[in-house]
Symmetry: D2
Subunit: 307 residues, 4 copies
């Protein structure tokens, strides 16, 4: 079994820039990753929900990781999403990621076919057995329809199947119970929140770090918030989180878009407006944001002082 | 664009037999397909939700189709599911299926990443553009979280993007509106119901055929029901459907299982008890049914005169 | 315990006409009920979901029943909804209805506070014990979040707690299982479908009758469909149902409305356009349909030959 | 229009003790309210979801308020839930509460009949117009199926319709956006969180107070947490919240119960085990917790030092 892997701090789920014709925009990717690394983040999470994973062929997944790791050049630990419907395909992705040399992998509960009561634990155990890498559970019921139970997660941590949890469940009560149970068991799990608007509350609750999509836009502030938390300066933590929550309005001010197109679409548009990306092109079949939606996002960025 | 493809009658979604160690059980597969073809079914739908698609690697998908087509030997039209999260991967599957020579393909709405208002139509159009094969939309919100609208489906049919719909939505009101709208537009879509317990009502509503998972267990009765429908003998249609609904209790009598493990698990167990399959092995990470659950299924089969 | 109550045929859930200032419009109510009774319907279901029950004070509920029964003048059996959050209030309504002399009452599963595993059966038993009237269970998960299980309903029927079920669940599979189980137990329950667009399929499945909201608009056709069913003329059953499904498009052609305002709003608007109601006023806080929505409904009615 | 009402701090939603035969247990009620008031709470919220509101007749609602206000004897402000399906009944409750002299009222979005886009705002405006009392919106989608939007709430606050929000939505992202928007508009709304396990995060986010069901069990700790928050002692806030989250396990350790019976059932059982209540009797049709479930709750209370 792999050694216990641990990570702390800010680990952005990397949004991937595309060219107009749908290829990875390598110069923009380089600029984007360097900008975040220079801001002082603590790790990189590739192929998460905001990282095109659902839209990517196996070859595209490989490209995203290979290019990302080449740019990163060992500066930060790399975590890679192995998101697919059921165990066998997840294991294929995990083996590919292992060969590419990532530091840890992330898998969701199985989806599409509805899991029964013992299926979820079977799933994580089979992945762990197949691949000798630290394994994070990705709790994202909005995408996979299953909420991972805090007792089950803690148990899978204690037995050595899971090394951490990336919580994007929006269920802060369950997260609190998980934190406390994980403490009682000696902290086997690294607990990261994906909840970018209430990271302050998650830190107060005991999270080990955050995976905020919005850190693609403003990595400096998330690093500052982490540092303020480390020195116990809660007034600053709160003030920075408020600022970031206002910046998150980029995902709330658009009209006529929904789901991935509104969420990641706003991130890509902001990075384009800010000059980090060369376009806000989205993966097919998702339409990019246009016209007044771009302007609405620009206004939020101006209010935030980012353009 | 492909010629307008049409199919009528009973098209079972094929359940795939496995060996104890998780390989395709070729002799059982042969026995199973021949048994259904001999019963007089009208087509074969491989890689549907009950056909292991979510649990299969690309290689396993290829095996299921290749072996299935070799056994079928051109006797019946073959429809293949191209189920994956988003458009790019669906197109990869579709191209693989095209090379294998299937007669039509089936795709769901995109899932995992949540689609916005125009995403679904974009998705089907991109698949159709990429692959010159008849394309069915698979409406299965319980797995993909999106209900396909009847107006949108009819429109995609009229424009030539879709050739048919496999309806597993459980929304008979929407299905009725779809049937009527499809008639108004000159019947561009072949409409198949996946609702094995109320196929009689779907035929009455105007379905062109059915894709009943339960036809794996009792193909003869579904063929008889179709024939009775063809000759307008509604008393027989209803009587046969009642008998089949009672047989469907195999999915209701188990305890402690849920989702795929209870549904397809019951199908595999019944086929094993009946001697068609050599085991009721399930794809990992799903547990097979055991002990009193097997006995409960056996009792339903005995009541139905199938063992 | 009350004698076993039974009803067959078409039992419309009565839509109640209001005046502009929100009172019951008595002349329109009279015209409306007489029009349906003259069409040959078999019973009247007051205070259902389309019958203003959720918007009515106890006093208004009393008025709806008193006026309705005065107009009915004993011509047809009267069933009254006793819809409220939990058992105690349902029993208050039930006792009021008993005093008003209705023939049977209808109650949903408890809602707002989430019921546990034994709560639903407790609930129906407590109502039956409190009031000596035939009791129907109203299965409407879209409003109350609980789907009544077919095994539980059949059990409550066999023990004498329930006399019938009004199924508005949209789950035709469960309804089929219920019909078959009810037969096995000697038909203790009268089973009515609320699914106005697929009543034909419900009759084929074995429903004892229907509670179609759309029968407020076109009672004659629902009566004709029932009669065709009685004589086994399935071609006519289907043709009439198709015609009625096209009429049901009044609920699909509006824009900007949703929920009750779109559904019952369309019924009231149609009755107003047809001259049965004097206005399409809705109970506060629901806005009535206006302008192009009224015109869209008028066009559907013209296509149906009803204006 | 009523003057702007404001409240800060800890406002428990009062759990009501019953006798074995289902009446209000007046001595226990007195002991319970005095215990909380003596602990230093800041207000009393009667007839919330944990306060039997859904199970209460109008007469029982009146008793709960009358007795509660007699015991309170003006020591603390009193807020009363006016929970019912739609506007007209809510207004009846509101008028009854006005006559009883409560200080503010609380209403949810309309439920059972599904609201359309403008219905919710119409609803709150109609209540405010009918009754001259401060009005809180109760955001509890798990019971009423509608999530109140933060923009709409802030707008209703700014126009004077709403005086506050009790947030039991579990959606901390939306709550954060609401807090910030409310600040931008000059803080028209008093914002209370009902999320007893993460009150610390809500205080950090900017909540004006909390409505924690668990404060019925341990009011002292919630008061201490509020005081620690007031003096900026976040280490203590977090430590107290952790302690309280562990106490909240009384709702997680039972088996076989669900919904209201597991949640409020655990609160009543704890108060009974602690000697504040004389029984853990529940309102019909909900079963009380028994045997090993009582013991499991007792163990949590012992770990917490409360028995």
């Amino acid at each position: 079994m792999s050694e216990r892997f641990s990570i702390k701090g800010v680990v952005p789920p990397v949004v991937v820039p595309m060219t107009e014709d749908g290829e990875i925009d390598v110069p923009a990717y380089e600029k984007h990753l360097n900008r975040m690394i220079d801001a002082g983040i603590d790790g990189l999470f590739f192929l998460g929900s905001s990282g095109e994973v659902a839209f990517s062929t196996d070859e595209r997944r490989r490209q995203i990781i290979e290019l990302g790791m080449r740019i990163n050049a060992g500066r930060l630990p790399v975590i890679a999403g192995c998101i697919d419907m059921q165990t066998n395909r997840v294991i294929e992705h995990a083996k590919a990621m292992e060969q590419l040399g990532v530091d840890a992998i992330v898998a969701t509960a199985p989806f599409y076919a509805i899991p029964g009561p013992t299926t979820v634990a079977n799933h994580f155990r089979a992945i762990k057995e197949a691949v000798d890498l630290p394994l994070f559970a990705y709790d994202i019921p909005v995408c996979v329809n299953t909420k991972l139970g805090w007792q089950e997660l803690a148990e899978l941590g204690a037995e050595g199947t899971l090394d951490g949890v990336k919580d994007s469940s929006g269920d802060d009560v369950s997260f609190r119970f998980l934190v406390l149970e994980n403490e009682r068991r000696g902290h086997p799990l690294t607990l990261l929140t994906g909840h970018e608007v209430v990271v302050d509350g998650a830190y107060l609750a005991g999270a080990d770090g955050s995976v905020p999509g919005l850190a693609n836009i403003d990595p400096v502030s998330y690093v500052e918030m982490w540092n303020a938390f480390q020195r116990g300066d809660w007034a600053s933590v709160k003030a920075i989180q408020d600022r970031l929550a206002n910046l998150m309005l980029i995902t709330q001010v658009t009209r006529g878009a929904a789901g991935y197109g509104a969420g990641v679409g706003a991130f890509k548009t902001a990075l384009w407006v800010m000059g980090v990306f060369n376009t806000n092109q989205m993966p097919a079949p998702v339409d990019r944001l246009t016209d007044e939606n771009v302007e609405a996002i620009r206004r939020v960025l101006m209010d935030a002082g980012l353009v």
